[in-house]
Amino acid sequence: MAVIETRDLTKVYGSGRHEVRALDQLNLQVQQGEIFGYLGPNGAGKTTTIRLLLDLIRPSAGSATVLGMDAQAESVALHKRIGFLPGELALWKGQTGAQVLRLVADLRGGVDEAYLRELTERLQLDLNIRVRNYSSGNRRKLGLVLALMNKPDLLVLDEPTGGLDPLMQQIFHEIMFETRDEGRSVFLSSHLLPEVQAICDRVAILRQGRLITVEQVSRLTQVGFRWVRLQVRDLGALPGRLEALDGVSEVSVEDSSLRLRLSGDFDPLLRALQDSYVEELHVHEPTLEEIFLAYYGNGGEA
């Protein structure tokens, strides 16, 4: 069953010369019990999609159904079953974390207090601090608790881990897996590929308001590549030898270091290096933009 279904969902801001097509005929389906990644560079239309799904803004054309309900006409009933974390979370600065939780719990008509306590303990959140005095990471944690507190059927998270330390990111991932195991769904927007790779089942890639593709995360990783930088004591004919290897391309030499693009396994590269003295070896994940180009060429078309 689809928990999110959009049909030609379009959002246009402004008019005439100032018209901006933030989202263009989006057709998307998110299934129950999956963690769905929504990827795209800044300005791709990720937040616009989320705002449309939550009825914070109204579509210029098309429609969206969430949990079987019309996102606009049945928004109040829908919001009872949704937990939302905005990308730029703003809260009542003069109130403590506990007061904010109390208010939101009251507005939700009450929540499971034991689960609320469990969440705050797992995320190690001190609730006695005023929001204005929270660090960005703690504010994010408070936002996560707010989104999770009602055990929603659908979690909508916009850049959820920004500001969280690695330990908290790990706990966040665990909570996401538990959510999925309980048959609930997560719609997670991000521009961080490693995060999406770590927890998502499927991924949609958005660019300039248009849906480029929807893929299994494993498939996205398969066609992926890495940038490798080597510091080798004596380069000699090494660049030429590496260029000839399968999966190696775009070899360039900068001072005494060598940079190349590697697709597939590391083994051929490591074997080719066995006669060289490697001082340093760095591997970089490609940026999302580079993956787009690798997938769809410079035109960005599927």
Binding site: D55, I57, R58, V76, F84
Partner: protein, 268 residues
């Protein structure tokens, strides 16, 4: 849950209610306590000698003889200026109905909860109406205390009518501010338009006091300042027609803000 935002708004604003009430109440107390020290007839003579535009600006467009009484002195010393000072309160509160939260980004969180947009406006609007009545009650308390301290003979029931008749006009300003906030989205823009409206209304009221005939009546009718006439209430009792009209206009503006907030994009 119904009423949560209403009570949260009251809780979040009680301290400022006390500040406003205490400030205006102290003014009332000071004025009432000063009554025994004035020679009312000399004061009336002095006021009668003022240029008409100054009289109009101070809100004295009633029969000045009524001012030669303790009630009249308080009307001169306090109620003539009350509206001009008090009007800042509903503007500040009106910005808190939606504009402040929207500009700060908090509205995004509120509206992602199971809460309809109209409830946000209605519950906060009603809470602020109650706060305005609360501030007025504190003003009356200040006046009562001043009268008690000075030992002045005063018709406190009539004074209560004069004090609480300011509430419908303040609610009108609150509704106007709420509408501007929902129409213009940006806090500064909404605030600027509201302030211009208030200043223009005040100027019209002043000019109406120095002109004659139909033009004066028209300007009076347009300016919401003329809908609170403390000297008139003192002489003839409250004008039910004006009170009803002010209330009806406030309701219309509040409904307008509901309509605007309901149909537009949030937080852009």
């Amino acid at each position: 849950m119904t009423g949560v935002l209403f009570f949260n708004t009251l809780r979040g604003n009680w301290l400022q209610t006390v500040y406003w009430g205490a400030g205006l109440g102290l003014m009332a107390l000071f004025t009432a306590a000063s009554v025994p020290f004035f020679d009312s007839m000399k004061l009336v003579e002095l006021i009668q000698g003022l240029p008409p535009i100054l009289l109009a600006a101070a809100g004295y467009d009633a029969d000045l003889q009524i001012l030669a009484t303790p009630e009249g002195l308080i009307t001169i010393g306090f109620f003539g200026e009350l509206m001009l000072i008090f009007v800042a309160c509903p503007i500040v509160l009106g910005m808190r109905i939606s504009a402040n939260d929207e500009e700060d980004g908090v509205m995004e969180v509120i509206l992602s909860l199971p809460l309809s947009r109209w409830r946000v406006i209605v519950e906060r609007f009603l809470a602020f109406c109650l706060i305005l009545a609360g501030v007025s009650a504190l003003v009356y308390a200040g006046l009562w205390l001043g009268v008690a301290l000075a030992g002045v003979e005063l018709d406190m029931a009539r004074m209560a009518t004069v004090v609480f008749n300011v509430v419908p006009v303040l609610v009108f300003v609150l509704a106007f501010t709420a509408l501007m906030a929902t129409l213009f989205r940006r806090r500064q823009r909404a605030l600027a338009v509201t302030v211009v409206f208030v200043v223009a209304s005040f100027m019209l009221d002043v000019l109406a006091g120095v002109t004659d005939g139909g033009l004066s009546q028209s300007m009076h009718a347009i300016s919401f300042f003329s809908y609170y006439d403390p000297a008139g209430i003192l002489q003839h009792g409250p004008d039910q027609g004006k009170t009803f009209l002010t209330g009806a206009l406030a309701l219309l503006l509040a409904l307008g803000s509901l309509w605007a907030f309901q149909r537009r994009d949030m937080g852009l």
